[in-house]
Subunit: 533 residues, 2 copies
Amino acid sequence: MRTAPAGTPLGDDFHLYDTTLRDGAQREGISYSVPDKLAVARLLDELGVGFIEGGWPGALPKDTEFFARAAKGELELRHAVLVAFGSTRKAGTTAAKDPQVRALLDAEAPVVTLVAKSDRRHIERALRVDVPEACAMVSDTVSFLVGEGRRVFLDAEHFFDGYAHDPDTALRVLDAAANAGADVVVLCDTNGGQLPLGLAETVRDVKARTGFRLGIHCQDDTSCAVANSVAAVQAGATHVQCTANGYGERAGNADLFAVTGNLVAKLGMDVLPTGGAAELTRVSHALAEIANIAPDTHQAYVGASAFAHKAGLHASAIKVDPLLYNHIDPPSVGNDMRVLVTEMAGRASLELKGRELGVDLAGLPDALTSAVAKVKRLEAEGWSFEAADASLELLLRKEAGEDFASPPFTLESYRVVLDHRSDGEIVSEATVKVHVSGERVIATAEGNGPVHALDAALRKALLPYLSWLDSVELADYKVRILPGHPGTDATTRVLLESSDGDHEWTTVGVHPNIVEASWLAMCDALVHKSRRG
Amino acid sequence: MRTAPAGTPLGDDFHLYDTTLRDGAQREGISYSVPDKLAVARLLDELGVGFIEGGWPGALPKDTEFFARAAKGELELRHAVLVAFGSTRKAGTTAAKDPQVRALLDAEAPVVTLVAKSDRRHIERALRVDVPEACAMVSDTVSFLVGEGRRVFLDAEHFFDGYAHDPDTALRVLDAAANAGADVVVLCDTNGGQLPLGLAETVRDVKARTGFRLGIHCQDDTSCAVANSVAAVQAGATHVQCTANGYGERAGNADLFAVTGNLVAKLGMDVLPTGGAAELTRVSHALAEIANIAPDTHQAYVGASAFAHKAGLHASAIKVDPLLYNHIDPPSVGNDMRVLVTEMAGRASLELKGRELGVDLAGLPDALTSAVAKVKRLEAEGWSFEAADASLELLLRKEAGEDFASPPFTLESYRVVLDHRSDGEIVSEATVKVHVSGERVIATAEGNGPVHALDAALRKALLPYLSWLDSVELADYKVRILPGHPGTDATTRVLLESSDGDHEWTTVGVHPNIVEASWLAMCDALVHKSRRG
């Protein structure tokens, strides 16, 4: 069974193993549909991971369906091998008779990862069996599945705590698995309490005492999951289990993207197919979308801020030599260096940022001065241009004196009415009065909410005059309530992401009234599009 | 100058050093006012850190004002010593004549931390001086400040990269500082590219070669800042620089709370005053509030999810023995274990959660069954009870058959009108028609936005009948736009945090219309309060 998994171009020497669809799905707030799970698996395969743990067939209906649809050909994997996760047989029965074990076979995945307790306290107090029976449960189940033609990995749950408490029991569980034909025994820091130096020592120790092929699975409860995973690889583990963006229970798991970034960029390991590393950022953000979790802007390697420089100090020196201030070259992981516009940044940052946006302020010292002043004033009012390049670009172009004589339209007034009627029906209706191409246009539309109704009314009014409006759609809409500064009311910041199919742009609006804040961001979005055409 | 800093009860053997107010303030999105900075310093002092780096006086006006107000007695520290951060003198002048160095003296902080480049490439290409002059800039500035009665620490910027590239230059910079009287030389992983095993080796090596007192300052660009900081301490560093919640430029700095949790819980180090560790969670969340950044729910030790168990598997076993599934006892860091209610969790979780909320479902199997079904259905529609215990408690009490015959009021209808008038004025007005204490009441009020207006109208209608309403206020309001599932529109989830001064509770509302979603959360909030009285 040690043949290289079909379709793993990197061969079998090192396993990059993803468990986003099983352990990652235990993160608070995540709930994958079956189509979500298929989309996640396709993205992980595009990235080039070696193994994709798809879930626990038999235990969770969605996971059973996922494997059934994958087996029906709905999931074609170029690089990765699909893995079914499950448990060893129950006590006092045989693997062949155990329905949960049968479900693992029915899933038709070429690899099965079995979880087994390796901490005597868990065996005796949670599992309520003795150590010999626990080992028999492992060896029976492994040999049954191997006999059925499956490749088997063993997740030794609570291994590090168990090894510290009673090393003999922990090693007996590993022996039972390896002797029954498991290819990899995975040392799991299930409660996530380990630190790198001690964990690396244990991995070296177990490797020396057993000679087994070792894997590592870390939780982030000490904020060391990535460090622990990398340290384990340096100590001899050749199989590392991660989840996308570190999704997982409690503090989460080891982040696939940070672990991979470290293995590739710091240890020079070739763990992804050619071009894979440059996909890290895109795949990370796409997987966040599917999980419906805002991407962590400060995530290592792939975060929007990972190579964003704010301090005026740095921003000016960066003009000298960017690589002096980045630990790697951002494009190598598909990310970019950004210069942030904030009150802490001076002229240098704004000038650099302008260049990035195609607005050359180098020769316009007065425009640059007033732009810096305006940005500082607006940010003090709660505006934030860090994530709203399109709004910032408009601001800079105005300051640079570019001609905005003809914005596509001007507003006269709007009114939004929300009714919760006595019959329980809820209606949102908006009326806009705008001037476009010399005409005064009045339009009314309904929507499922105030912003949606206002957007619909504006489109209805403008579409006859601005045909390109048809291609623009609202891609994402984020709302942030900003607490008022002393003596002021709270205010609302809206970030609007628009798309015309080819490209996406983000605009910002700030106002105490959420509808007006949304309106301001909508207007910037349309002006941006009308300029680009 | 090696006298123990006044007011540091732990003495001087180990330095827990916080730079939230300087390095942390460089995080994208953070902008501290001077009152913010004073509040942050007070919280850090309550926690018991040894040193608080307040900023860069002279370079940033806010920081200059912060030190001035601290010197005027606006900041009384029980444990911590205030530190002013700054740079060594410019090339070709004397420290005494350098205005930036003078500003460090004027700040009147007992300790000054100087930053100096220790990577020859930075010295020659960014600083544009030769190594002897760079060392002279260090020794002149250190001895001048020591001569003025300051305790001086040196941040050796880019040390690890510099030591790998040219160890002699890096060590010469350390020598210049230590020989001139700097107490601690802090090895900085400025670009954040280090991994723990290699970093620990370098720290041991430098310690052996110099014998100097070493500090560590890590950035999180490999997602190893916490691990690197702890590994450096294990390798001999006795001074560790962190920021609250890891705030900092790019991927951030080492998280003060995770580093402290690890030093205390894993290495058994007594780095906080008695009772300090139990304050970690409270202080972390309070500092997130001041930074106006949502707390990271999955943060190690202090995150709301750090001890939250979701998987049905665990939830049932947890009833047996919680400590088998937590790496530490949550209250020891001021956190709690939580059981999450989600579609993945079964009856066991919901029963446990009910007990946590004071609703005993153990004896009501049918009620438990229908509660599980209802929670699953609502979560499928976009509701989330993970952060809305008050709404969940109401749901469980209803399922348990508790008497809700008399909710405080019933709604007949409401209307909200938003006008953006042609004169530019923006008005939000709401009218509610409700039945309370047998009366039909109609009330109209204005607000600075639709939800504010609706809240105001409802209070106006109910206050004459429900005097307790006076004490209830809207503490926080979060909006999340949920993308529609195939064939459905996007929907809006509102989380409402209410407070009556004594206690805070969170309710949830979900609806395509943001105003109706807010209304639903508002109603739950009031029913919750009317029950508790």
